[in-house]
């Protein structure tokens, strides 16, 4: 029997509301593990996990590594440079070779959309998507939703505006799928050049001006302006972007209520978000990072076979 989550976690799009809630509920007790003096439980003892990162990452990679180590798994990191990938080995060959060394799970970040799912269908080990191109970044979506749930007590009915580069953002996409499944209202806000053409089909409304998004929302998730997009001509300049879409205290002061401010990092201070806002009292940017470890522990634990017995019986052992 497969646990209710299945073998892989590749996208929040494929999960049900119940499965998302299961991960969030499982993450709760894991928060406490990271606050212990001995930050380690033996749940994944003897499991071998490979972190396969074909793209630069500090936060996500370190967060996964902490999560793995705090569950007592053995971990190996493979980066793009310095591995045989740079000699031209294909993704599947790399993974099959790893599997021949009897690994249990692969955490993969890759520049191509769909690569995690592609890999999951070709190897026996569990595959966790740590960001695949412009597609999804499910654990980031989950940690954002957990942070909102911590702050507001529930997700249902919450108004969340996701602002910035929706076109290239896997964080945005995972947030949209996860939040709408849990009954939140989601709006997107950003330059038309950085808005996917069919974005409404994901169940969101488009608010073209950030001033209007601030009036409407309970929480703002500010996406990183991917500076490498600048050369491609999507936005005229960083200064221009900041003037039209940057989140400043001046703009936030006109909000009818205190808004919760999120950012998945790494931040471009003074571009999509001003320092006073990022470091301000309503920012939950660092709690997001703390929750990231707990959410990843929950995902690893559930995929490794810790999924619960939905039909629980009485009190015997």
């Amino acid at each position: 029997m497969l646990p209710p989550l299945g073998k892989d976690l590749t996208a929040l799009e494929y999960l049900s509301a119940d499965q998302i809630r299961l991960i969030l509920d499982t993450a709760e007790p894991f928060k406490e593990v990271s606050e212990r003096q001995i930050k380690k439980v033996p749940a994944l003892r003897g499991k071998t996990i490979v972190n396969l990162f074909f793209e630069a990452s500090t936060r996500t990679r370190i967060s996964f590594e902490f999560a793995e180590k705090r569950l007592s798994a053995d971990t190996v990191n493979v980066a793009h440079s310095g591995s045989s990938v740079s000699k031209g080995e294909t993704l599947v060959d790399t993974a099959r070779n790893l599997e021949a060394m009897h690994i249990d799970m692969v955490v993969i970040r890759h520049p191509s959309s769909g690569s995690a799912e592609f890999l999951g269908k070709r190897i026996r080990s569990s595959v966790i998507n740590a960001g695949d191109g412009k597609h999804e970044h499910p654990t980031q979506g989950l940690l954002d939703i957990l942070t909102l749930r911590d702050k507001f007590g529930k997700v249902e009915g919450l108004k969340v505006a996701i602002c910035g580069d929706l076109l290239h953002s896997r964080v945005g996409r995972s947030n949209i799928h996860g939040l709408t499944k849990l009954g939140a209202e989601v709006a997107v806000c950003g330059p038309a050049s950085l808005m996917p053409r069919d974005v409404e089909s994901l169940g969101v409304t488009v608010i073209p001006h950030i001033e209007d998004a601030i009036q409407w929302a309970d929480a703002l998730n500010i996406l990183r302006l991917q500076l490498e997009r600048m050369t491609a001509g999507y936005v005229p300049s960083q200064r221009e972007y900041n003037r039209v879409f940057g989140l400043s205290t001046a703009r936030l002061d006109r909000a009818p209520k205190d808004l919760v401010i999120m950012h998945p990092g790494p931040m471009n201070r003074g571009v999509e978000i001003d320092s006073e806002v990022a470091d301000g009292p309503h920012s939950v940017i660092l709690p997001q990072v703390t929750n990231g470890v707990a959410v990843r522990m929950a995902v690893l634990y559930l995929l490794a076979g810790g999924a619960p017995d939905w039909a629980q019986g009485g009190g015997s052992e």
């Binding site: 029997m1 001995i38 439980v41 076979g305 019986g313 009190g315 052992e317």
Partner: protein, 171 residues
Amino acid sequence: MDERAIARCLARMASEIVERARGTEQLVIVGIQRRGVELAARLKRLIDDAESSHIAFGKLDITLYRDDLQAVGPRPMVGETTLPELDGKTVIVVDDVLYTGRTVRAALDECADFGRPRRILLCVLIDRGGRELPIQADIIGVTISTGAGDRVDVLVRELDGEDAVAVVRGT
């Protein structure tokens, strides 16, 4: 067992705990999730009422310390763990049913990650035999003999609406 039988049992166990620990100083009472927590809370109340004490109380979830993650089949939801200072204390670990001993083994491992108690005593409402590890209880409510196919259901008011112990014989 009905409500009154359980209440009598717990009252006796509470005084046995104080006796075994030679008083309530340095005493910590820890319940194993989930029904062990309710029983531990009641034992704490009984002891505090009788001794005018405020003994430290904790909850222990052993799900992450189990030895059977590999085995086929789903697990219970991971619960909350909150433990007070354990160093140098006499820790009473409370559970509803003692059976294979694997839960207790996990609980001992988890306690060791939180500190170094001077002593740990095991207190269970029902000892149903069938041990798979060399573990024994120090304070026991009732000992019953059961087979591997039987089920022992402990119900507590806080979670199940009533206090009762029932043995469901397997076929």
